[in-house]
């Protein structure tokens, strides 16, 4: 009884499921974990249901496509049918077979790149996306958040209007168009950068300085695109929360106490205002695995996003399902970790 009253927030109207018992933090983490497992299960199930809810039979289209690449063994045929729901058993049996595949990470053979397996394709594409999108996401978050703090603190000056306006314009642009512009000028007109791929045609992927330099050179334009288009969101998010925080009593109090403006801005306002941006950052890190589909498509960059594009346009359903599942699960995991971290940083959210 006492513990359940303890876990209640002042905002008693919120429909929060009570775990009943346990200490505050542990109860919080357990409840989050339970919710995470439930969401994960729902996402996996959604991935199973999607092809079955949609009209037409992906399996027939897939088998026809696979047959063009060469004779299809009976085992492959059975695997595809099991995965895509050609009725080889009732829906419950199919569902358990699918769960088994998910647990063993066995997603079968790709049709487009037959006889390569889905897991082989994914593990080749993943490093490129992780490095490219991952590094840019961190850089954009750091620069954007700092600019947001500056904009909010210098409200009404050009330090506010320039990054804020430029940021909102950049985020209203279709980002594949920004990518096309960069590709057109820097790639084709001025010939400063390569126009597609992750490394030159003669290079073989290894860890030599030569190859890494080449890879960096190829990654520059996609990276610049993602940076330009994502910076605005971080600036605006930080600026708007920071402005609300600056109006709070404790900031006014700190100012009235004669603390240095810099201290007030960073130690008091920014520290509290960064929480929502931190949440988005966690989610963005989870989204890194999915890559940046449109940017990777424009630059023909062989990451996960481009792989998904290829899977979709070639109706490669096993590859598509596996990629979608992987992208979703990484976002779910990131969201879960952010929730836990948020609870540690801001005890008010543990309710």
């Amino acid at each position: 009884m006492t513990s359940s009253t303890l876990t209640r927030t002042p905002d008693a109207t919120a429909p929060v499921p009570e775990t009943g018992g346990g200490r505050r933090a542990a109860g919080f983490a357990l409840r989050k974990l339970g919710l995470f497992v439930l969401t994960l299960w729902a996402a996996i199930t959604l991935n199973f249901l999607l092809p079955r809810l949609m009209p037409g039979s992906p399996a027939d289209a897939a088998l026809a496509k696979l047959a063009q690449n060469g004779p299809v063994s009976n085992a492959t045929k059975a695997a595809i049918e099991a995965q895509l729901g050609v009725p080889t058993g009732n829906i419950v049996e199919q569902y358990f077979a699918y769960i088994g595949q998910v647990l063993t990470l066995d997603f079968g053979v790709s049709y487009t790149f037959y006889p390569q397996t889905v897991s082989e394709l994914v593990s080749t594409a993943l490093p490129y996306t992780l490095v490219l999108v991952g590094v840019v996401t961190v850089v954009a978050f750091v620069i954007g958040t700092l600019l947001g703090v500056l904009a909010a603190w210098k409200r009404g000056t050009w330090l506010d209007s320039l990054p804020t306006l430029a940021g909102s314009f950049a985020s209203a642009f279709p980002y594949f168009w920004t990518a096309l512009l960069l590709l057109f000028f820097a790639g084709y007109v001025w010939r400063l950068f390569p126009t597609s791929g992750a490394y030159g045609p003669t290079a073989t992927p290894n860890l030599s300085f030569e190859f890494l330099g080449d890879a960096l050179y190829h990654a520059f334009l996609p990276a610049l695109t993602i940076l330009i288009t994502s910076l605005g969101g971080w600036i605006l998010g930080m600026r708007n929360t920071m402005i609300s925080t600056l109006g709070d009593d404790y900031v006014t109090f700190a100012e009235a106490n004669g603390l240095k403006p810099r201290t007030v801005a960073l130690r008091y306002a920014a520290r509290n205002a960064i929480l929502p941006n931190l949440t988005s950052f966690g989610l963005a890190l989870g989204g890194v695995v999915g890559g940046s589909i449109l940017v990777e498509r424009v630059f023909g960059y062989p990451g996960v996003g481009y792989l998904l594009f290829n899977a979709v346009t070639n109706q490669d359903y096993p590859l598509m399902q596996a990629l979608f599942l992987m992208i979703t699960v990484s976002v779910l995991v990131a969201n879960f970790l952010v929730d836990i971290l948020y609870g540690v940083l801001d005890p008010r959210t543990r309710r």
């Binding site: 429909p15 909102s168 979709v312 346009t313």
Partner: protein, 302 residues
């Protein structure tokens, strides 16, 4: 006796939807950025409406010189299939505006229905809605959009609108739910509860009018997202590539190697139009933000 009964309704009477709308519109218009946005949007709507009259040629009318540079006959040149770029641009504006309005409206309606009910109900059903909304919030939008579009291949504009709505309603529902929760404990709601109003009426007649600015803001946000999503899906070739929209123009530009041939108008014009349209909606939203959060109003100091 009679004087008493006539005095009361004046206090109880809620502002009519038109009054609310007029007040919101006036506040938005008072914001400089929003005025620019409304002007740009108005211009696009006019161009889309009058496309049949203004456009020099039909949208898919081909047979002109292929990949031509701009000339007196073709102000923005022609495509690789010999179509007039300017005409395609004008006709294409209809699709973007239509998708933006319809998808924005539909996802706002769903967000309002779910968000407000969710904010009002308690217990089991609140948990269920919470779970479903969180699922849709967390599942990455673009990949889901692409996967659904792939399964529903070749459905045209209707399919794109459905896909955009499925992946786009959850955020609005969440925002509206928080506001409902904070409003439901206010005095006027308590008064309505005690006077025996049904929950449905309380939520949609008493609480809803107080959230106009949030809902309007949500509409513009959703419409912007829908326009960008439509363009992205069409650019990837996942929509109906036989229609003429700004997204398909970019798709064909990429397919016909307009980058190599330097067909600048074909590459820049559709993208610029999408960007301008989306920017106009973003600008209008600045004015809407000013209604709900006076701290963000033009010229307001901290």
């Amino acid at each position: 006796m009679t004087t008493q009964t006539t005095a009361l309704p004046a206090i109880e009477k809620a502002p009519s939807p038109w009054q609310v709308f007029a007040r919101v519109a006036a506040t938005i218009w008072s914001n400089g950025k929003a005025r620019i946005g409304i002007s740009i949007l108005g211009l696009f709507i006019l161009l889309a409406l009058f496309a049949p009259l203004i456009a020099p040629y039909g949208a898919s009318e081909n047979g002109f010189e292929r990949s031509a540079d701009s000339s007196w006959e073709h102000w923005l040149g022609t495509t690789a299939a010999g179509e007039d770029v300017l005409s395609q641009l004008l006709w294409g504006s209809q699709i973007s505006i239509f998708v933006g309005l319809v998808a924005g409206l539909l996802s706002t309606v769903i967000a309002v229905l779910i968000g407000l009910s969710w904010g009002y109900v308690r217990g089991f059903w609140a948990d269920v809605i919470n779970f479903v909304v969180n699922l849709f919030l967390v599942i990455p939008g673009l990949p889901l959009m692409i996967v659904i579009a792939a399964y529903l291949s070749g459905g045209g504009i209707g399919m794109i609108i459905i896909v955009v709505v499925i992946t786009g309603w959850a955020w609005g529902a969440r925002v509206l739910r928080s506001q409902t929760q904070s409003l439901r404990s206010r005095d006027f709601v308590t008064a309505a509860v005690f006077s025996g109003e049904r929950p449905f009426r309380i939520v949609f007649r008493e609480i809803l009018p107080n959230m106009t600015s949030l809902i309007v803001g949500n509409f513009f946000g959703a419409a912007t997202a829908a326009i960008l999503a439509e363009a992205g899906l069409e650019y990837l070739g996942l929509g109906d590539s036989s229609i003429v929209s700004w997204g398909t123009m970019l798709f064909w530009a990429q397919n016909s190697n307009a980058l190599l041939t330097g067909q600048w108008a074909l590459l820049f014009a559709p993208g610029l139009c999408i960007a301008l349209l989306a920017t106009s909606l973003t600008l209008i939203n600045f004015g809407v933000d000013g209604i709900s959060n006076p701290r963000l109003r033009e010229g307001a100091k901290k």
